[in-house]
Structures are given as C-alpha cells and as structure tokens.
C-alpha cells in the first residue's frame, strides 16, 4: 500500500508541470464537449485525439487520452439533462431521471448532483486502480501464453454475449475484426499475408481504422440523420448546483453502490460503462422504497448510474495495464495507443514503464478534480461551446479525420483506409451492428493468435494444454458458466416479457 502511494507521488511529480496541467485541463474540456455531442462518444474522442499525441512525451500523451476519456463520461449527461438527448450510450439512463428534474425547474440540481456523483465514482474507481492494480500485476506475471489467450477469448466472448439480441451480428463483426487484423506479416513465422499493395506489408494501421470507424462513420451517420440540438439558454446560479443535505442523504447510498458496481463492471473484460449504468439503474429501482418515483426525477436513479459511469473508467484501465486486456471499445483504443508508444501492455508494463503508468494515473486524478469544478462552474461555457460547434461538426470532424490519418505515415494511403472504414462504420451504425466486438478483435486478435500458437507449440501440438493448467481450466469454466448464464437469463427475460404481455 505504501509502495503504491510512493509510486503515485512519483507520478504526480512528473505530471505537475505547467504543460501537463494545461494539457489535462484541455483534455477534460474537449472530452466534456465531445461526450455531450450526440453522435460522438468516448471512442471517437480518443480516436480523434490520438494523432495529437505523436511527438508528445508518453506520459503527456496518455494523460491527454485518459483525460478525454474521463471528460466524455462527464459530458454525456449535459445534453441528457438539458434537452433529453443523451450524448453517448452511458448517458441514456441519465436522461430518464435528469430530464424530468430539468422540466420541474431542478435542472441546476440535476447537473450538480450528477457532477458530484460522477466525481465520487471516479475517485472510488481511482482508489481501486491505485491499490489493486499493482497487486494484480504482481500475480499476473505467473500467467503464461495459454492463460493470456483464454483471457483474451473471455473478453471477446463477453462483449459478444452482452450484445443481447444482436449476438450473431456481434460475432460476425468480431470475425471481420480478426480478418482485418491478419493483414501484414505474421508474428510467429514472418509470412506476409494479403499484402495487395506495398503499404499493407505492415498491416492496416489501427489508428486509421478507429479514426474512420468512430470519427468519419459518426459524421456520415449524423449527416443522414440531420441531428440538431436546440440547447436554448439555460441560466443556473452556482447555488442551484449544490444539493441540499436532504438530497445528499437521498443520493449518497446510490452513489456508493454505483461506484462499487461501476468499478467491478469496468474491470470485467468485455463489459463497459453502458452495462454499468443500466445494471446500477436496475438495482436502484429494485431496492428503492418508492420505485414509483423512478422515471419522474428520482435522485438515486440519477446519482447511482452517474457514479457507475465514471467509476468504470479507472476500473476498465485495471485489466488494460495489468494484463494488457482491454475491457471496452475505449480501452481497446487505449491499448492501441500503448502499442503505438512502444510500451508493452501486460504485467511487465508496470515494471518496465511504471513511471509512465503512474504519471497517467496521477493525471487521471487531476482530471477528475478539474472536471468536477469545470462542470459546476463553467456550465454556460460548455453550453455555448456546444451550440457553436454542433452546427459545423461535420466539416470539423471530417477535417480532423483526414489530417489525423495523413499524419500517421505522411501518406494518403491511410486516408483511403480511413474512408473505407468510415463507410463501414456508417453502415454498421445504420444497420445496428455493434462496433465494440470489431475493434476489440482488431486489437486483440494479433496478440491472441500469437499466444494461441505459442500455447500449441508448448503443448507439442496438443490442445490438452488448455485443460491441464489449473488457471486455464478455471478460465474455461468461467467462460462456460457465463455463456450458460447468458442463455438462461435471455430465456428468462423473454418468458417474463411474454407472461407480462398475456
């Protein structure tokens, strides 16, 4: 514990420079605006910021990306509460309770309460990250190639299973993601696969894919949908943001429960902030003394999911930095960023690049504090920024996508890649095909294939190696249990829906 604190202090000493402080503040502001805008989410925010990190010190680059990630979690709630238009998927639940509060004249309270709950959730998740990550990392070095392969498979299968009715579509996109990742030279044999042009010898640039999928794809979708926000001119005094003692008492239990649930869900590979918020909302509704108040501006229904939302961010970073396994689409992009910086994701990351990791964690702590104060005090600024940007979003984001793709290798080839995946992202969004399994597969598949082939070689050509090792066997059992649970839950929910209809 003391060791973690001293490492964190080291991280702060690296981050507490004028440059890094300004960067973290800016990242939070950008993330808040991106998160508030419908059509852009955490993944788009991180994807668009990635090219900016080239040439930055690694710690600063990671602070920028994690600051944007955290900022989008704060930002999604703004348009949810003000105009019932969630900025991103995790903010859908915020609209259910926040907008009714706005309508009855308690918009300032809703914004303040959600900001404070978000801060508490973020703090809780950060505490778990600071003290739990080094422990996981110290045990993770005992994992071998079979265990890593199975953990990655667990992450991929969880995100597919959580796709609900879209499971076949999710599985299809995961397969396509794996196929995309096979371009270029094979890790083990060095054989070059599918190099139809010389640029493909090194594979398809992951950053160009995500910029296209999440940046241009969203722009194309919004151009068709013609989403326009009417933000009005909300005027709140600072006093309205501060909840009364009664409201604090009403929301504190939900905030703590949301913080815990959000962190745990964030840690699970394949789950993410959206799952955390919906589960927390369902829990609060279930245990509420007055469930009839839900949907009409219930304080626990707003505070709990907001806390879960933000707690899931540090939670999802735990498997990423300790095992090298991303927990969601956003952290999948973070994994790509780590590889791009030349850092080795996995348990050795905290040993070989501990200074960078702790600087990132310190940056996240700062970002959480900045975001609380900026979201409470600078609300009119955010609303004006949103009003100014949203009308020109298409051209601005398009420009960032093109320049960002070009800057990867100073070549127009990546612009073509971005364009192709932009069209794919648009079609996927339009036809309701999930992007999470696709991007997770693109990032994990090369590593998973490598570990898989190493495992088979270790087992001398036999598959039994996965069953002979106790940890591998436990992971397989966990996968089977999760799969069976998923199917049983689905049938149970379907049966209840049919019974309710009758």
């Amino acid at each position: 514990m003391l060791d973690a604190l001293s490492q964190l202090a080291g991280g702060f000493s690296e981050v507490l420079t004028a440059y890094n402080i300004a960067l973290i503040f800016l990242a939070g502001m950008i993330g808040t605006v991106v998160g508030a805008l419908p059509g852009l989410g955490p993944s788009a925010g991180i994807a668009l910021m990635l090219p900016l990190t080239f040439g930055m010190p690694h710690a600063s680059g990671l602070c920028l990306l994690t600051g944007v990630y955290m900022g989008t979690m704060y930002g999604g709630r703004i348009t949810s509460i003000l105009i019932n238009t969630p900025g991103d998927a995790p903010a859908i639940v915020t609209a259910i309770e926040g907008y009714p509060m706005m309508r009855r004249g308690e918009g300032g309270l809703a914004l303040g309460l959600s900001a404070i709950a978000s801060f508490v959730g973020g703090c809780f998740g950060l505490l778990v990250l600071i003290f739990f990550a080094p422990v996981v990392s110290s045990y993770a070095i005992f994992l071998g190639a079979p265990e890593y392969f199975l953990l990655m498979l667990l992450g991929l299968s969880t995100i597919v299973m959580l796709a609900g009715d879209n499971m076949i579509k999710a599985l299809l996109m995961a397969c396509v993601g794996v196929l995309v990742s096979t371009f270029g030279s094979d890790y083990v044999s060095g054989h070059i696969r599918f190099a139809f042009t010389p640029e493909l010898i090194e594979g398809i640039d992951f950053v160009a894919i995500i910029i296209g999928l999440y940046g241009l794809g969203e722009v194309l979708f919004n151009l068709e949908q013609r989403v326009r926000l009417n933000l009005g001119k909300p005027t709140f005094s600072v006093r309205e943001y501060i909840p009364s003692a009664k409201v604090v008492k009403e929301g504190s239990g939900a905030t703590l429960r949301g913080s815990l649930l959000g962190t745990v869900i964030g840690i699970l590979p394949g789950a993410g902030a959206t799952v955390a918020t919906f589960l927390e909302y369902a829990l609060e509704r279930r245990i509420a003394r007055k469930p009839e108040e839900f949907g009409k501006g219930a304080v626990p229904g707003l505070a709990g999911p907001e806390a879960a939302n933000n707690a899931s961010v540090p939670g999802s970073l735990i498997p990423l930095i300790t095992l090298g396994i991303p927990g969601s689409g956003g952290t999948a992009i973070m994994l790509g960023a780590l590889i791009m910086f030349g850092l080795q994701p996995g348990p050795l990351l905290m040993i070989k690049s501990g200074d960078v990791v702790w600087a990132m964690i310190a940056g996240l702590v700062l970002a959480n504090v900045f975001l609380l104060f900026s979201n409470l005090l600078l609300m009119p600024l955010f609303v004006n920024l949103l009003r100014m940007v949203q009308g020109h979003l298409a051209s601005v984001v398009t420009a960032l996508c093109v320049v960002g793709s070009f800057s990867l290798a100073y070549s127009d080839f990546n612009i073509w890649i971005m364009l192709i995946f932009g069209v794919l992202g648009y079609l996927m969004k339009k036809c309701d095909y999930p992007t999470g399994p696709f991007i997770l597969a693109v990032v994990l598949a090369p590593l998973a294939e490598n570990y898989f082939r190493q495992s088979i070689m270790l087992g001398q050509g036999k598959w039994q190696i996965f069953i002979e090792r106790p940890i591998s066997l436990s992971i397989i059992i966990a996968m089977v249990v999760l799969g069976v649970l998923g199917i049983v839950m689905k049938r149970f929910i379907k049966r209840r829906a049919v019974a309710a209809a009758d």
């Binding site: 090219p51 900016l52 080239f54 040439g55 076949i168 579509k169 599985l171 299809l172 397969c175 396509v176 794996v178 196929l179 096979t182 094979d186 083990v188 044999s189 054989h191 696969r193 599918f194 241009l216 722009v219 194309l220 151009l223 068709e224 013609r226 009308g391 020109h392 298409a394 051209s395 601005v396 398009t398 420009a399 960032l400 093109v402 320049v403 070009f406 800057s407 100073y410 127009d412 612009i415 073509w416 364009l419 932009g422 069209v423 794919l424 648009y426 079609l427 996927m428 339009k430 036809c431 095909y433 598949a445 294939e449 898989f452 082939r453 088979i456 070689m457 001398q460 050509g461």
Partner: protein, 151 residues
C-alpha cells in the same frame, strides 16, 4: 432486410471470400503448431457462414411477414437522406486523389466548405470563414507544432 444491410453484408461477404481465396496459398500448418493460414482461412469461412445465417433469418422473417396480411417491413432511409453521405464520400475520395498534386489542406478546405454550405445548410460566407478558421487551427497544431508536412 434493408438495402443498407444488404450492401454491408454483401461487401463483407466479398471481403471474406477474397481473403479465403488468397489464404489457400498460405501455409495452414507448421510443425507442431498452426501456420499463418490457419486463422484467416477458418475465420473467413466462419464469416461467410454467419452472413449466410443472417441472410436466411432475414428471408424467413420476410416470408413470415408476407404470410400475414397487412404486415410491412420497416421502411429504410430514403434516397434523399442518403445523398449527403454519398456526396461526402465522393468529395473525400476526389480530395484524396487531388492531394497527390502536393497539398493536403487545399483540397480538404474545399471539401469542408462544400460540406458546410451544401450539406449542413450554412451560408457560403459563413462556411468559408468558419472552415478557414478551423483549417488555420489545424495547420497551427499539426503543421507547426507537430511538424507534419501538410502543404
């Protein structure tokens, strides 16, 4: 099944089919393990199988819907709604081709103004001014700070 979904699945099927064809020339096995052709070949087959499953499900749903009088498939987006998307993609493709003449920002600027003016519905002067400012900011960040050769 909507037209856009048919286009998506057809494109993915062609993609998987091409990779399946080319992966037949890549070694499938190697010594005691699997070769570089193992994963792409099997995943290409899995992709085509899943696309077939989705197509069959859609056909079955359509037959089931057609059997019920009055049942209609949900309408897909109109051609007019999709036009901005097609136009943007075409503009970006033309701009990317034009970039081979030496400048990244010039063709990009034209595309940005056209998107703002014709597709987002802003006035021409406003489109030019706003996008010039954005392009200027992008040049400062990427061209001057990150030293990326954009001109």
């Amino acid at each position: 099944m909507r037209t856009s979904e048919i286009i998506l699945l057809a494109s993915l099927a062609i993609f998987a089919g091409v990779l399946l064809w080319f992966s037949l020339d890549i070694p499938y096995s190697a010594g005691q393990g699997f070769g570089p052709g193992y994963l792409p070949l099997n995943l290409a087959v899995a992709t085509l199988a899943l696309i077939a499953v989705l197509a069959v499900k859609a056909l079955a749903a359509r037959r089931g819907g057609a059997a019920m009088p009055g049942a209609q498939e949900a309408p897909s987006g109109t051609a007019a709604a999709v036009l901005p998307v097609v136009a943007t993609v075409a503009l970006l493709a033309l701009a990317t081709l034009a970039m081979s003449l030496g400048s990244v920002l010039a063709p990009l600027g034209i595309v940005m103004v056209l998107i703002s003016w014709r597709l987002s519905g802003h006035g021409l002067l406003r489109s030019i001014l706003v996008n010039a400012a954005v392009l200027g900011a992008i040049y400062v960040i990427f061209g001057l700070w990150l030293r990326i050769p954009l001109q």
